[in-house]
C-alpha cells in the first residue's frame, strides 16, 4: 500500500498528513472555544500519547499489559513532586520541561519493573503486569508521604519565572504545551516504528521463535520496547499532572489501565493511527457519555465485546477496509446496505437502551418518580406499555438487522472478489 504514494525525494503524502495533524492541533481550540472543550482537548492530547505508548506494547509488540497506568501514574507523581520542588525553589528547571521529568521517571520504573514483567510473553506477561499493577496500587495506599494518601498530591503549575509572558496559568497555554508535546511524541513514536528495533519488535510479536533463530534475544527486544513505552507513558503522566494540578492514587489504579487497553483496542491496535482515534473516544466517553447515562460502562463493555468478536482490528481497520472499497469506486454499490444496517442498529440501540435506562432508573432513582427521559421521550418505568414497546422495538430491530446483515455480507463478499479481480487485471496490464 505504501508503494503507491511515494514521490521521491519527498514523500508528499506524509508531509500532508503531518501538516494536517499539526494544523488540527493548532486550530482546534480556536474552533471549540468553551472552557469544557479546551479542557477536553488538552485531555485528548494526553490520552493520545498514553494510548500510542500503550500500543507500542499491544499492537507492535503483542504484549497485552494490564498495568500501563503504573507508568503514566508514577510519571504523574514524580512530575508533581518536581513541580512542588520548583515552586519551593529547590529545583531550577522551567515548568515546560516537567513532563520530561515524568517521562524519565516512567522510564526508570519501566527499567526496574519491566525487567521482571518482560521475562515472559503472551498470557503470563498479561498476568504479571496485572500483579505488578496491583502491587503498585496497594503500595500507593501504604506510603502516604509519596502518594499523598486519599487526598493525593496537589501543586500549582504557575511556578518559576514566566517565559515571554507564558505562565501556564490559563488553560489555553497549558493546552498548547500539551499540543507541542503531543505532536513531538507522536512523531517520535512513529519514527520508532521505522527503526530496526521497531521492526524486530513486530517480528517478535509475529514469530518469536524465528527471531531467536536469527540471533536476537526476544526478551531483550521486549524489554527495550517496554522501557521506551514507559518513557512516553511517563510524559503523558507528567502532562496530566500539569493539566489537573492534582494527582490521586486513582491514576495508578486498575481502572485506568483497563481504560487504556479498552480504548487502544477500540481505536485499532493494528494501525499506527488507531490509538489516536481510541484516545479521542476515551475522553469523549469519560467526559460526555458518563454525564449522559449512568449505564455507560455497560454500553462500553458491550461495544468492546462486539468489537473483539466481529472487528478485531478496531475502528481503524474498519476505516481502512472501507477506504479500499472506496478507492476502487465500489462504495456506491454497498451504501444502501450500510444505511439498512445503520437504521436497524439504531432501532436495537433505542429499544435495548430504553430497557437498560428504565432498569437503572428503578434501581437508583425511583424516589424521583417513575418517568425516565430517554432520547427525548418520556417513559414510565413502571408501566407495561413502555416495556412492551421497548421489547417490540428491540426485537423488530434485531430481526431486520439480521436480514440487513446477511444482505451486507453477501454484497461485501462480492465486492472483495471484484477488487481482487481488478488488482489481478492491473497487474497483468503492467
Amino acid at each position: 500500500m505504501s508503494a503507491v504514494y511515494k514521490f521521491k525525494p519527498y514523500n508528499v503524502g506524509r508531509w500532508i498528513i503531518w501538516g494536517l495533524f499539526a494544523l488540527v492541533l493548532l486550530v482546534a481550540p480556536k474552533l471549540f472555544t468553551s472552557n469544557l472543550s479546551v479542557t477536553m482537548l488538552a485531555q485528548m492530547g494526553i490520552a493520545i500519547i498514553a494510548c500510542l505508548s500503550y500500543n507500542m506494547l499491544l499492537g507492535q509488540g503483542g504484549m497485552l499489559s494490564f498495568g500501563h497506568a503504573v507508568y503514566t501514574g508514577l510519571g504523574s507523581y514524580m512530575a508533581m513532586h518536581a513541580l512542588n520542588a520548583v515552586s519551593g525553589g529547590a529545583l531550577p528547571i522551567p515548568v515546560s520541561l516537567l513532563p520530561l521529568v515524568g517521562g524519565l521517571s516512567g522510564m526508570g520504573f519501566a527499567v526496574l519493573l519491566g525487567w521482571v514483567t518482560t521475562r515472559k510473553s503472551g498470557t503470563p506477561f498479561a498476568m504479571i503486569t496485572l500483579g505488578v499493577a496491583e502491587l503498585v496500587f496497594a503500595m500507593s495506599l501504604m506510603f502516604s508521604e509519596f502518594f499523598g494518601g486519599e487526598a493525593g498530591v496537589s501543586g500549582n503549575r504557575v511556578a518559576g519565572q514566566p517565559f515571554f509572558g507564558i505562565t501556564f496559568g490559563p488553560q489555553i497555554q497549558i493546552y498548547y504545551l500539551i499540543a507541542v508535546y503531543t505532536f513531538v511524541c507522536v512523531a517520535l513514536m512513529y519514527a520508532f516504528t521505522q527503526t530496526p528495533l521497531g521492526r524486530i519488535l513486530n517480528a517478535v510479536r509475529d514469530n518469536p521463535e524465528r527471531v531467536e533463530f536469527i540471533g536476537y534475544n526476544t526478551q531483550r527486544v521486549r524489554y527495550l520496547a517496554f522501557i521506551i513505552a514507559g518513557f512516553f507513558a511517563g510524559i503523558a503522566g507528567g502532562l496530566g499532572a500539569l493539566n489537573f494540578e492534582i494527582v490521586t492514587a486513582e491514576v495508578v489504579g486498575a481502572g485506568r489501565s483497563g481504560a487504556y487497553l479498552l480504548f487502544t483496542f477500540l481505536g485499532g491496535a493494528t494501525f499506527f493511527f488507531g490509538p489516536i482515534i481510541g484516545a479521542v473516544l476515551m475522553v469523549i466517553a469519560f467526559v460526555l457519555l458518563s454525564e449522559l447515562t449512568k449505564a455507560w460502562l455497560l454500553y462500553l463493555g458491550l461495544v468492546f465485546l462486539f468489537m473483539v468478536m466481529y472487528a478485531p482490528g478496531g475502528i481503524a481497520s474498519l476505516i481502512m477496509m472501507n477506504l479500499r472499497v472506496a478507492k476502487f469506486g465500489k462504495l456506491r454499490q454497498i451504501w444502501t446496505s450500510y444505511l439498512g444496517l445503520g437504521i436497524t442498529a439504531l432501532a436495537i440501540v433505542a429499544g435495548a437502551g430504553a430497557m437498560i435506562e428504565m432498569v437503572y432508573h428503578l434501581q437508583l432513582n425511583s424516589a424521583l418518580g417513575d418517568v425516565v427521559k430517554f432520547m427525548g421521550v418520556p417513559l414510565n418505568a413502571k408501566s407495561v406499555d413502555s416495556w412492551v414497546g421497548a421489547i417490540f422495538v428491540t426485537l423488530t430491530g434485531l430481526g431486520l438487522f439480521e436480514l440487513a446483515r446477511r444482505q451486507y455480507v453477501l454484497e461485501w463478499g462480492e465486492i472483495q472478489v471484484e477488487i481482487e479481480k481488478e488488482i489481478k487485471r492491473r497487474e497483468t496490464a503492467v
Partner: protein
C-alpha cells in the same frame, strides 16, 4: 497457641476457597490456552444467583442449583462468543473475557444494585464448628459446637480461660473444597470423560480424529470451570460479603495463584492457593513492625529512622501486597512457577 491453630485453619479455608477458583481457571487454561479474565466475575454471579435462589428454594438447593446455572451461563458464553474469537489467537480470547468482566460487573449492579446484599448462611452454619478452650490450669481442649458460657468463665479470678470458636461456615468451606478436589481428581483420572479431556488437552487433533467432539469438550470444560467458580461464589458469598466489588478483590489474587503455582498445573494451583491463603491470613493478624523489632532487639534508632514510614509499617499493613510480592519473587527465582513444567 489457639491463635496459631485458628489462624492456620482460617488461612487453610481461605486458601481452599482460592483453590476452588484457581482450579477452574487452571483447568480452562491448560485445556484451551484461554486465561479466563472473567473467572472472578463468574464467582460473583454464583454468589448473587445463590442469594436470589436461596430466597426462593432455600440455601441447600441453591448450593446445587446456582453452580449449575453459572456453569450453563459459562458454557453459553463459550459457545456464542469465545468460540468465534478462538481462531484469532490468545490475546483476543483474553480480551473478550476482559470485556465480559466489565459487562458482568455492570449487569450485576443493574440487577441487584450497587450495595451489598444480605446473603447469610443457614442457621446450621451460623454457629461455631468447634471451640478451643484454653484453661490455664487444665490445659487446652476442644469442644464441638459452641461452648456454653459457664465453661468460658472461671469462678476463680486467678484462673484464665480463653474460648476461641471456629466458625462453621469456614469448616463447611473446607469440607466442600476437599470434596471437590477429590471428585475432580477422580473425574479426570478414573472416568472415560476425564480421559477424553486429558487427551484433548495434549493432542486435540488426534482426539478429534478418533471421533471425539473436541469443541464440545471445550464447552464442557469451560462450563465446568465456571460452575466451580459459581460453587465457590455461593460459599464465599455467604461467608464473606456479597457485593459488586467481590470479583475485583479475589480476581487478581487468583491470577497470582495460577502464575505462582505454575501455569496449567493443578497441583501447583493447590499448593500456591493454600500457601497464599495461609500467608495472607497470618500477615493480617500480626501487628508487628520493623520499628517494634528494633526496639525488642534493643537497637538504638535515630529520630529520623523512627519516623520513617517504611520502618513504621506493620506486617498487617503489608498484607495486601504480599501475594504480589510473592509473585515477583517467584518470577525472579523460579520463572516456571512452583510446580510448573512449561517455561513460556
Amino acid at each position: 497457641m489457639e491463635f496459631f491453630i485458628i489462624s492456620m485453619l482460617n488461612g487453610l479455608s481461605y486458601g481452599l476457597l482460592l483453590f476452588m477458583l484457581s482450579s477452574g481457571l487452571t483447568l480452562i487454561f491448560s485445556m484451551m490456552g484461554v486465561l479466563n479474565f472473567a473467572h472472578a466475575s463468574f464467582y460473583m454471579i454464583g454468589a448473587y444467583i445463590g442469594y436470589s435462589l436461596g430466597g426462593i428454594v432455600g440455601f441447600w438447593p441453591a448450593l446445587v442449583l446456582a453452580p449449575l446455572c453459572v456453569g450453563a451461563l459459562g458454557a453459553l458464553f463459550e459457545r456464542i462468543s469465545l468460540r468465534k474469537v478462538h481462531p484469532y489467537g490468545h490475546v483476543p480470547e483474553l480480551l473478550v473475557t476482559f470485556g465480559l468482566s466489565y459487562v458482568v460487573l455492570e449487569l450485576v449492579q443493574l440487577i441487584w444494585g450497587r450495595t451489598a446484599v444480605e446473603f447469610v448462611p443457614p442457621d446450621v452454619l451460623r454457629g461455631a464448628a468447634f471451640t478451643l478452650i484454653n484453661h490455664s490450669v487444665n490445659g487446652m481442649h476442644l469442644l464441638w459446637g459452641a461452648a456454653p458460657a459457664d465453661m468460658c468463665s472461671a469462678a476463680d479470678a486467678a484462673v484464665r480461660v480463653v474460648c476461641t470458636p471456629f466458625p462453621a461456615t469456614r469448616a463447611f468451606m473446607m469440607v466442600i473444597a476437599l470434596l471437590m478436589l477429590v471428585s475432580l481428581w477422580l473425574l479426570l483420572t478414573r472416568t472415560r470423560i476425564g480421559l477424553v479431556i486429558q487427551a484433548a488437552l495434549t493432542h486435540p487433533d488426534m482426539a478429534e480424529a478418533l471421533g471425539h467432539n473436541v469443541p464440545r469438550v471445550f464447552m464442557l470444560v469451560f462450563g465446568a470451570g465456571t460452575g466451580l467458580a459459581g460453587l465457590a461464589g455461593v460459599i464465599g458469598g455467604s461467608t464473606f460479603v456479597t457485593e459488586p466489588a467481590m470479583a475485583a478483590t479475589v480476581g487478581s489474587v487468583i491470577f497470582v495463584v495460577v502464575v505462582v503455582g505454575g501455569m496449567g498445573s493443578l497441583s501447583g494451583a493447590f499448593l500456591a492457593s493454600v500457601l497464599i491463603g495461609v500467608i495472607q491470613t497470618f500477615a493480617v493478624a500480626i501487628d508487628y513492625s520493623f520499628l517494634a523489632f528494633a526496639r525488642d532487639v534493643g537497637w538504638q534508632l535515630s529520630a529520623a529512622a523512627q519516623d520513617n514510614s517504611f520502618a513504621k509499617l506493620t506486617v498487617s499493613q503489608v498484607a495486601p501486597i504480599l501475594p504480589y510480592l510473592f509473585l515477583v519473587l517467584i518470577l525472579i527465582f523460579r520463572p516456571k512457577g512452583l510446580l510448573g513444567t512449561r517455561e513460556g
